[in-house]
């Protein structure tokens, strides 16, 4: 790994210990993501075990909306691509590009949260909150944990927009944006599991 990978960005000629530091951080974050994947896997297992325990309450068939799930999926998938464009802009050392694409990603992320909020509040208003049945407890635990991760991701995106504005495209900022990217793309992978395990089978 050479120090001048980022070419024109002002990060050439750093001592190797710095390179080692960023490699270690990237790897440490990867270990965190893998442990987070295990948390989600167990929430999926819990959901499948609780699927039949509706306590004579509403089932997924009655509660889920295909259009709503499709809209959430589209927004989140697009936001993964726009984050990719922000990473590309960073590699090309384009500061306005990074800010522009990170902002688009944050807006799409907020759109996803808004759709999820509508869905959750609509279900709770119909008396189908997490306290209604084991099935609904597991549903809110799984989808809600993903939503909390997305919320944390949006806050992190806003912080990184602030750092790009104030600090510029420095090497520590590059390392943080890259880890945020791993986190954001990872959340989109979890969402594939959610629509394929929760919404689509619930509506078949």
């Amino acid at each position: 790994m050479t120090a001048d990978t980022l070419g024109t960005v002002e990060m050439a000629a750093l001592p190797t210990s710095d390179t080692q530091k960023y490699e270690d951080r990237a790897f440490g974050f990867w270990i965190y993501l893998m442990s987070d994947a295990i948390i989600f896997a167990l929430l999926f297992a819990t959901y499948l075990v609780m699927l039949g325990n509706t306590a004579r309450g509403p089932t997924g068939q009655q509660l889920f909306s295909l259009e709503h799930a499709a809209a959430e999926t589209a927004v989140l998938l697009l936001s993964s691509a726009t984050f990719g464009f922000a990473s590309v802009a960073f590699a090309q050392a384009s500061r306005p590009g990074v800010i522009q694409w990170l902002s688009v990603t944050a807006v799409l992320g907020l759109g996803f949260l808004l759709l999820e909020y509508q869905e959750f509040s609509g279900m709770i208003a119909k008396g189908a909150g997490p306290d209604r049945s084991g099935f609904l407890s597991a549903f809110f635990a799984l989808v809600g944990t993903h939503g909390l991760h997305v919320s944390a991701g949006i806050i992190w995106i806003l912080v990184m927009i602030g750092q790009v504005l104030t600090k510029g495209l420095t090497r520590p900022v590059a390392s943080r944006v890259m880890r945020l990217g791993l986190f954001w793309h990872f959340l989109d992978i979890i969402w594939i599991g959610i629509f394929s395990v929760v919404y689509l089978p619930g509506l078949v």
């Binding site: 790994m1 990978t5 980022l6 990060m11 390179t19 960023y22 490699e23 951080r25 990237a26 790897f27 974050f29 990867w30 270990i31 893998m34 442990s35 994947a37 295990i38 896997a41 167990l42 999926f44 297992a45 819990t46 499948l48 075990v49 295909l66 799930a69 499709a70 999926t73 589209a74 998938l77 697009l78 993964s80 691509a81 990719g84 464009f85 990473s87 590309v88 960073f90 590699a91 090309q92 090497r171 590059a174 944006v177 890259m178 880890r179 990217g181 791993l182 793309h185 990872f186 989109d188 992978i189 594939i192 599991g193 629509f195 394929s196 395990v197 689509l200 089978p201 509506l203 078949v204």
Partner: protein, 105 residues
Amino acid sequence: MDASGLPVERSRRPYLIGLGLAFILTAIPFALVAAGTLPRISTLVIIAITAIVQVLVHLRFFLHIGFHSTPFENLAAMAFAGILIVFMVGGTLWIMFDLHHRMMM
């Protein structure tokens, strides 16, 4: 994902390919469920297959995982997490559904 932990991809191409493939792999199961023409079991199998392929597409084109470009430690951590997930999810479902079956007797 490469060892440097810094953005190195200078082309939008992988992201656009990933977005296109992901869109197709999402549209297929949603369209099948909306149409509701296939039997339940076939639909569920197609949902499972498109989901697995889409996860691989995301890993390749969004997270840039590759057998040569990704450091061995990262691949090992991913394989280890995968094994743990198979044991824990598989074990949970096996035990709980077996228990459920016996309690119904």
